[in-house]
């Protein structure tokens, strides 16, 4: 069955939970951009260790993230093989040297360069994911819009994000109701039905679902207009947290890691890749 809540936010009292949403958002973005930019396995491993420490400090249980982990690992394995299948010589191209481990055919040669490139890529994802989970599980969804607004996203767009999170469970409930009602009337959505027929059956769910959501758009936007939404250039947020000393320490630390990783690329590696082969 579908989960009606996207992110199960349960309040706890620890260092990570008590940070303001803005801090967590900025730290998440800084660290994930650091990892995105750098192809230096050493930098990435440092950030990965950091992000697992953060995950531990924030007391997120493995049970909560198990499903995500499996999905991500599956994705990484597929990506690993696809990369080799499509570009077995990409590593050689990047690093400019060739150290053969063993040969399958002339084109499909396993080289240390390719191995380093693919493992670095894998580490990159593995190091960002704990950060993403930390951010998702420890941020109050109602505080999220306030955080987005504070880092410079227009409040109307930020409000759209918060409304999305607010209405997602309602949509799931509507979808389930309609889908069960249609299945009770004999609509088959499983693999037994042919593709074209299945698409048609799906439309029989979409049409009531979408038309009822268009009615909802009308109702909600009227309610907001009547309360004067969008009249002013700025707005305040009910759920925003105040910045504390810990927030500033965390921001400074993440900014330092970010700058250090850029500095590694610029001054030591002279490029985004760490090349141990020369």
């Amino acid at each position: 069955m579908m989960k009606s809540k996207l992110f199960d936010y349960i309040e706890k009292d620890n260092f990570v939970y008590n940070l303001s949403g803005v801090t967590k958002l900025i730290c998440f973005l800084l660290l994930s951009f650091a990892v995105m930019f750098s192809f230096d396995a050493r930098v990435i491993i440092v950030i990965m260790v950091l992000s697992f420490i953060v995950l531990h400090v924030s007391e997120i249980k493995f049970k909560q993230v198990r499903l995500m982990m499996y999905y991500v690992l599956g994705f990484l394995v597929i990506n690993f093989f696809l990369t080799f299948l499509f570009s077995p010589r990409y590593g050689v191209e990047i690093y400019g040297t060739e150290h053969v481990i063993f040969r399958i055919t002339d084109h499909y040669t396993v080289t240390w360069e390719q191995l380093l490139y693919q493992i670095t890529k894998m580490l990159k994802y593995l190091s960002v994911i704990p950060l993403g989970m930390m951010f998702i599980f420890t941020t109050d969804p109602s505080e999220f819009a306030a955080s987005l607004n504070k880092i410079g996203v227009g409040y109307k767009a930020a409000f759209a994000v918060s409304l999305t999170l607010r209405y997602f469970p309602d949509m799931i409930r509507d979808y389930n109701d309609i889908s069960l009602a249609q299945q009770a009337r004999g609509l088959d959505l499983s693999k037994k039905e042919k593709l074209g027929r299945r698409l048609k059956n799906m439309m029989n769910i979409f049409v009531p679902l979408i038309f009822s959501s268009l009615d909802r758009v009308e109702v909600v936007s009227n309610a907001m207009d009547l309360r004067g939404f969008g009249k002013k250039k700025k707005r305040t947020w009910y759920a925003g947290k105040k910045m504390t000393r810990n927030d500033y320490y965390s921001l400074a630390f993440c900014a330092f890691v970010f700058l250090a990783s850029i500095a590694m690329s610029v001054f030591i590696n002279h490029g985004r890749f760490w090349n141990p082969f020369i």
Partner: protein, 184 residues
């Protein structure tokens, strides 16, 4: 002429509801084509319907928010594809001033207009933007990302062409147009 970039309360709410639907469909409702790892994502069809009704800004935000939230449930958004989803729906939304679906008009000509924009949007997003960002941001090998982009673009164009067009047609029938009342 409708103002394409107006961002009024109704557009905001439509964006939010559209993005919630997009997330729901992207997570749970896919039609497998038989080829592994290539599903027809129904969410793009519904997204294109919202883009045609509410304009490019709503389209862009629906794509970005919906895709980012979906990815976030797995840990981390894959930014290049999140942006491409937004771009595809933004370009589809450019058809908005030419359509009068909410006044009950969706002729064959309108259908063709919508599909031209939709196909251009998918082509730009999945054959140009997504692979280029993949190469720039993630340094993925070029031939892999272009192949993935082609497949994704084709599937999304089918989804928008079929689901989007049908939804627009059905919706136009529920709306009454200007000056359709006659005195007896």
């Amino acid at each position: 002429m409708k103002n394409m970039f107006e961002f009024k309360t109704k557009t905001i709410v439509a964006t939010a509801i559209g993005a919630a639907l997009f997330t729901l469909l992207m997570l749970y409702v896919k039609v497998p084509t038989g080829v592994p790892e290539t599903d027809i994502q129904t969410c793009y069809g519904v997204g294109s319907f919202f883009a045609a009704l509410f304009g490019p800004i709503a389209g862009f935000l629906i794509g970005v928010i919906g895709h980012a939230i979906t990815d976030a449930t797995y840990g981390a958004p894959w930014w290049s594809w999140v942006i491409s989803s937004g771009v595809a729906l933004f370009i589809t939304g450019l058809a908005y001033p030419r359509l009068k679906v909410d006044e009950g008009r969706f002729t064959l000509k309108d259908c063709i207009t919508f599909n031209i924009f939709q196909v251009i949007g998918n082509a730009v997003a999945w054959i140009v933007v997504a692979p280029l960002l993949d190469i720039i941001i993630y340094k993925e090998p070029a031939n892999l990302v272009f192949t993935q982009g082609m497949v994704a673009g084709l599937c999304d164009a089918i989804s928008m062409g079929v689901i989007g067009s049908i939804l627009l047609m059905l919706y136009s029938k529920t709306r009454s147009g200007k000056g359709t009342l006659t005195q007896e």
